[in-house]
Amino acid sequence: MRKILIIGATSAIAEASARVWANRGAALYLVGRDPARVAAIAADLRIRGAAIVAHEAQDLNDFAAHEAMLDRAALALGGFDIVLIAHGRLEDQRACEESVDLAMQEIRINALSVVAVCTRIAPRLSAQGGGTLAVLSSIAGDRGRRSNYVYGSAKALVSAYLSGLRQRLHSSGVQVLTIKPGPVDTPMTAALRKGPLWASPQSVAAGIVRGIERRRDVIYLPGFWRPIMWIVRGIPEGLFKRIRL
């Protein structure tokens, strides 16, 4: 029975992943902001076959509360095989350009809260001598683009942080997985116009579960984003600044 902590458990991508694990009889600890919605997801996962589902409501912007939350989760599960971090938000880029406050909030929830909680998770996994830390970054972090660079720069911070953490935890047998989805059709992107390159939360979840099983380091979901982002990263800055992306 796998022991899995999910932070940001009300995210559509996290929920779809949790269903795969519930189906296999995992023990789950769910952390999300909205108490009614976390409780509803917990009830659903129990019916779908999870062995144990415990949950709590927590605003992840409250960094000081992270330690006690992790203590409760560790106690409930008896350690962690997998920690999935999936919370996040996507503000309108224009609005972030006009409001320092909004831009800071965007960085705080998408980047700083992730660093805060990972900093506390890392020694726990390393002391266990194994386990997986899987974190939702994004292809948006691979290169700042005018259409979403505030969000993107927060994700870039997460990706860089995880790359260093991976080196640090490698010798203790901990897998650090950076997950970089392309656009996914979830509540976060409800306001955006969808196109053919969009993925479903179910297919992204399947990729996450697979990436963990295969002990991968960095995954792009769907996989075609890897070559695309390789090209996007390769465009010289002098040219890049002239194109609309």
Binding site: A40, A43, I47, A190, A191
Partner: protein, 441 residues
């Protein structure tokens, strides 16, 4: 702020289609979406309705498929509460291993609970257990004004009667509670019996209604004169002996990967197919089948509707009252055979006495006949007009879930409670079907 996604949506028959602005509800805690002024909306289940009753062309659709959480399953009492976007196949995966099945299952498992309620669907056991709505113990209805009504036979029973079979027009069902039925295991003892003509088919179906929980008859539509109405009756009861080695659950093993340029199911082919199918069953055949195979034989082929080509297909499903049913069915089959249109699939079932709870529920005591036809334009519509006349004369009705063309007059004659119903229609809800049958009402 969520926005509607412009999308081309078509229903199962591929004849009704059009651009919609698609919104989504992802959980029962969300509010009714706020819409631009003068835009109407229709809840959308899994699009397994054949015609335009699940579409609202030019308006908005509210996609319910990601609102699909289980809420409570009582494995002792067999009650299940879930959000309305959960599909029946998902329910089966959870409840069947615990020894329960939904009381009523239509011919495909890819329908949502909300869709099953809004069409008050029926199964092969209507003669015994009534329609889907008979086993819905309560549900929540979310109206566009934000009101949430808990509906049960005890509370808001008028809204309950309007919403069961209410074609999505009374608001959004957010969650529902179902009473399930006990089964000893996943197996069905199935028997197929060949009948030489309509008289024999109806007599045997009627007799089997007493002895068997499930009955359904396949009719050879190409047969005429003395053989008119010949077919194969399939009847079944749950098999209660476990233990023995059984065939595995059927899996989806075939798919129609794309729509061929023309229909693969033309009249000549269906004539041959029908004759072969009839001949194959010369002696009664008994078998033990997994419930998947028994309830959902068509689900074995993914996207089978594509076989009808880009012009799509129609299903004509009517119900005629018990008195005089034999005569009406005979006339319907005669008209079909005489037209040379070649129905590719014809299915006949008995509807029992148990009253359907909805004001617009389709099932009523009598006989129902469903005929599939590739879309061949005006010629087919001429046949439909003849069939309509027979149904109207018999005091029967057509099934909105399957319909893309019935005249408004036939709808109003078949559903005399439509005026009572229309008082419950939500101010922001509409559908292509509703606009069609309410034109100049």
């Amino acid at each position: 702020m969520a926005r509607g996604q412009p999308r081309l949506v078509c229903s199962w028959g591929n004849v009704a289609r059009g651009t919609h602005s698609v919104y989504r509800l992802s959980s029962r805690f969300e509010d009714f979406p706020s819409l631009p002024a003068h835009t109407s909306i229709l809840p959308f289940g899994n699009g397994r309705s054949y015609g335009d009753s699940c579409l609202n062309v030019g308006g908005a659709l509210l996609d319910m498929r990601s609102m699909d959480r289980f809420i409570h399953f009582d494995a002792q009492r067999g009650t299940l509460r879930c959000e309305a976007g959960v599909q029946l196949g998902e329910i089966l995966r959870i409840v069947a291993p615990a020894g329960w099945l939904p009381c009523v299952l239509p011919g495909t498992q890819y329908v949502t609970v909300g869709g099953a309620i809004a069409n008050d669907v029926h199964g092969k056991n209507h003669h015994r257990d009534g329609s889907f709505g008979c086993h819905v113990t309560q549900f929540e209805l979310l109206r566009s004004n934000g009101e949430r009504l808990l509906c049960s036979p005890q509370t808001n029973s008028d809204a309950l009667a309007a919403t069961i079979g209410g074609l999505g027009l009374t608001g959004v069902i957010t969650w529902a509670e179902l009473q399930l039925t006990r089964v000893a295991g996943p197996w069905m003892a199935v028997e197929s019996v060949r009948c030489r003509d309509l008289g024999e088919l109806l007599a045997l179906t009627s007799a089997s209604s007493q002895s068997h929980a499930y009955t359904v008859a396949w009719v050879d539509c190409a047969a005429r004169r003395k053989r008119l109405g010949r077919g194969i009756l399939q009847r079944a009861n749950p098999a209660d002996d476990g233990g023995a080695a059984r065939p595995a659950a059927s899996r989806r093993w075939l798919a129609v990967p794309f729509t061929p340029p023309v229909s693969m199911l033309n009249p000549a082919m269906t004539r041959v197919f029908n004759a072969l199918h009839y001949t194959r069953h010369s002696a009664p055949m008994r078998s033990i089948q997994h419930y998947q195979q028994f309830f959902f034989p068509l689900d074995g082929i993914r996207h089978w509707n594509r076989l009808y080509g880009p012009r799509g297909f129609y299903q004509y499903q009517c119900a005629v009252p018990r008195d005089g049913a034999g005569d009406s069915i005979r006339r319907l089959l005669e008209a079909t055979a005489a037209s040379g249109e070649g129905s590719s699939l014809a299915v006949l079932k008995f509807f029992g006495e148990r009253p359907s709870p909805g004001l617009l529920s389709f099932p009523r005591p009598g006989v129902t006949l469903a005929l599939d036809f590739p879309n061949r334009g005006a010629r087919l519509e001429r046949l439909f007009a003849r069939l309509d006349a027979i149904v109207a004369e018999a005091g029967g009705r057509l099934y909105p879930a399957k319909d893309a063309r019935m005249p408004a007059s036939l709808f109003r004659a078949g559903y005399p409670q439509w005026q009572t119903f229309s008082r419950f229609v939500d101010a922001r809800c509409s559908s292509s079907f509703w606009q069609r049958v309410m034109a100049d009402a």
